[in-house]
Symmetry: C2
Subunit: 123 residues, 2 copies
DNA sequence: CACGCTGTCTGCATTATACAGACAGGATGC
DNA sequence: GCATCCTGTCTGTATAATGCAGACAGCGTG
């Protein structure tokens, strides 16, 4: 796990994003015990409150259970009904991301293979 | 063009992102004249400085020429050599975006078809 | 019953954002 | 000639977000 303090996205969101990816992909299964906010903060070179903010975000999404003595535990979570327009918002963000990559000079062929790989990983 | 002031991304970045998508896709061709910062700001319900910040961002990327009297004009721009690791950064952001969409409840099949559509649009 | 470990809360310094308004320069109209 | 208008730019400011330091609260353990 890697955090870039210079990035536009705040550190707590980067932490939440990377943990969410691990949760959705099944690398973190229900019942798993996460590192304490201070442990992970020390590991990342951040303040414990920054990690706590990320944990609270994932708890609000239903992924984690936070308790005083127990720490952060992965919950069972059924996929929610997608809010209206969620699919369209994804399409817009995907187009934006592709435009940024093409503007940075990444060839279209490389983007296509990355997209095809993503399609396969979703199966 | 639509701006959401409540979104996490700042307004000037949303403007730049949407204009960049239009530039990369060829909807805005070299020589085209953009709306003045005040015109577009009025159209979006924002301050002219917010639009100017977006224009400066695109100018720094080589897309626009900004001049006092002339306004904002689309430049010819050869795609730069992609910085090292740019392709990998794209892959990471794509995975993050997909994880977020799946967490929001968008079914994998919908994501796959959106990805396939994006592959075709890149040809 | 003191200690240690957990997440939570309050307060603070810094930075980013969006805005209001003044400025600069060059074309246009009288 | 010269006022006027339209362009992007610059300065200053109020507000919110961010990351951090440190204190607090609950609960198991020795």
């Amino acid at each position: 796990m890697r955090i870039d303090l210079e990035a536009a996205a705040p550190a707590w969101r980067q932490i939440a994003d990377q943990l969410r990816a691990a949760l959705v992909s099944g690398q973190l299964r229900p019942g798993a015990q996460l590192a304490s906010v201070r442990e992970l903060a020390l590991d990342l070179g951040l303040n414990h409150n920054t990690v706590a903010e990320a944990y609270r975000q994932l708890a609000a999404e239903g992924f984690l259970q936070l308790e005083r003595r127990t720490g952060a535990v992965v919950l069972e979570r059924k996929s929610p009904r997608p809010p209206a327009g969620e699919q369209e918002r994804f399409a817009v963000r995907l187009r934006t991301l592709l435009a940024e990559a093409r503007a940075a000079g990444v060839p279209a062929s490389a983007l296509q293979s990355a997209l095809r790989r993503a399609v396969e990983e979703l199966s």
